[in-house]
Symmetry: C2
Subunit: 335 residues, 2 copies
């Protein structure tokens, strides 16, 4: 039997931490695919585990005593922590656990910027990725769509968007999409629409992706992200991607609420929302850092956080990062 | 009895033109609030009206023979047309009908950029609006939300965003929201999140809106647009706003499709989509030009285009533009 993937889990990150995180760990403690390394205050963890019915011996423990405060400047806090002889932040310790081989992947549902910074500082970037992107999987009508960047950064140059495209393509392949096509998010689907960055990016992506043998369908609109008809990988800057992701999440919740009122029994509609929330939507994969990193919703439920842990284990299992490294290495040869 | 508002309608704009537009006109021909001025090729209109069962005498006619081709450069086409002694484009003729008093409002479901350009060239901008914004009304959970700019432009400076905020506030008031609060669309709801434009805009909006006695709640996220809990007016640049709008539309359609499969009878779910599509979502109000202008979906159904005509009539009836002029005039006094 194959040995389970060890996933380091940030116990203190997220709106419902540590309770929601520990409840999530209980949900996965019997999974044969994943073994959890709890990263948190080891003097309190045994008691918390007992409260949350996590079996002693089902998980491993690693000490970290603090989380990034939401009101602090997260990047500064993570940078300072990384310089300490004994880092205190859960994100630093969890990301280093992967770097040092104590885990193969890590998960945080705390501050996104802090998790991104911790991953970059601990594990470094993959060559030919100027910066990491958060890739989310949207449950589209025809086939799942990978949207990136969903908020690891704010803006992106055409060259960076081309790197995101290659990384997103690798992720879609790892998720089982046979021949994903890439689209560039913009307004209007005719060529040449959008601002200067998109117009230049359209040319850069067309050229770079042709070099990789990756299909490029050109500009796509916000609605195409939800059908999956035209493209299965959609690239954009982190500001636009995050706004779009949050809008789609909100619109799905709105629809469930409003449609459920149109039926005598609201339960089937709500079940759809739960399935979506604990499946495709659950976590963002941070692409471009040299450690398998999943960042989930701060307000995620235990089932959603459990889905993040499983996503991290499965990406490590499938060798997403070695594939990404190999594919991006081709970039430097061809350009 | 109050005289109906005359609404000039671009017969040739939109994916389904002229059929979808004429079917829409049939739907409103008996409305006491609106009288339609059909703007299209007058030599063909009587026969088209007969085919679409529009009563002779129920509408007025004005001649325009061409529409903006989707593959042409729309702004250039509209600029050239405006210099002709006899303009040929329906958008030019319809916008001028409002400028010249033959109509009080106009509607196009053709190319957005062409309609925006025609409105600006024919009617001019309202003082203190550097550029127009397309405002759409989203059917949020708690109360409707006005989102702008939904795609009239591409980017927006902090100063322009402040003008959008005032214009959107006037529109929300005209729609019946008593004391709308304004939010600035960004990522993360803590102060100081987002790119340089949003960080500066947060300060500019806080100051300007305070001067107007308009409530400002600061940064809001994509999902807040769909709840309407925090802000009832959400401002952003046209690129982000258009991506978000299209994403929300797609997500609602996705939800209806997926949820309807969870029930034996899909009809109630589909009815929700139809209600939304022919109500709040139907048309964008172009704020900042001195002519009541509604721009609808190119792919809109006759019921959606009819909703655009009614929206235009009701905005003209309520005096949205005089209110906007008065409110923006205060800007120059206070700043």
């Amino acid at each position: 039997m194959r040995r389970p993937v060890t996933v380091a889990v940030d116990v203190l990150g997220g709106d419902g931490a540590p309770r929601a995180v520990l409840d999530a760990v209980r949900l996965v403690q019997a999974d044969p695919q994943a073994r959890v390394l709890l990263v948190g205050p080891v003097d309190q963890l045994p008691e918390l585990m007992a409260q949350h019915r996590i079996r002693p011996g089902a998980v491993d423990l690693m000490n970290a005593t603090e989380c990034v405060a939401m009101d602090a400047h997260p990047l500064q806090a993570v940078r300072q922590d990384a310089q300490l002889e004994q880092p205190r932040l859960t994100v630093t310790v969890a990301a280093r656990a992967v770097r040092d081989g104590a885990a193969e992947a890590w998960v945080s549902v705390g501050h996104t910027g802090a998790a991104v910074a911790a991953a970059v500082l601990a594990a470094g970037r993959i060559p030919n990725m100027a910066r990491p992107a958060l890739a989310v999987v949207l449950p589209a009508l025809e086939q799942p769509v990978v949207l990136l960047d969903a908020g690891a950064g704010l803006d992106a140059s055409p060259q960076v968007l081309a790197q995101f495209a290659v990384a997103g393509w690798c992720y879609a392949r790892a998720l089982g999409v046979a021949e994903p096509n890439v689209g560039l998010l913009t307004i209007g689907s005719e060529p040449g629409k959008g601002d200067d960055v998109r117009q230049e990016a359209e040319q850069v992506l067309a050229e770079r992706l042709r070099g990789h043998g990756i299909g490029f369908v050109g500009p796509v609109e916000g609605g195409d992200v939800v059908t999956g008809r035209r493209a299965q990988v959609v690239v954009t800057d982190g500001f636009t991607g995050n706004v779009l992701l949050k809008g789609i999440e909100g619109a799905v919740a709105w629809s469930v609420e409003r449609i459920s009122q149109a039926y005598a029994d609201p339960e089937p509609a709500r079940r759809v929302l739960r399935e979506v929330a604990t499946g495709d939507f659950a976590g963002g994969m941070l692409l471009g850092v040299d450690a398998t990193t999943v960042i989930g919703h701060g307000a995620g439920s235990p089932a959603q956080i459990a889905a993040c842990i499983r996503l991290a284990a499965s990406a490590a299992e499938r060798g997403l990062i070695p594939e990404l490294r190999a594919r991006l290495a081709l970039t430097s040869e061809s350009s």
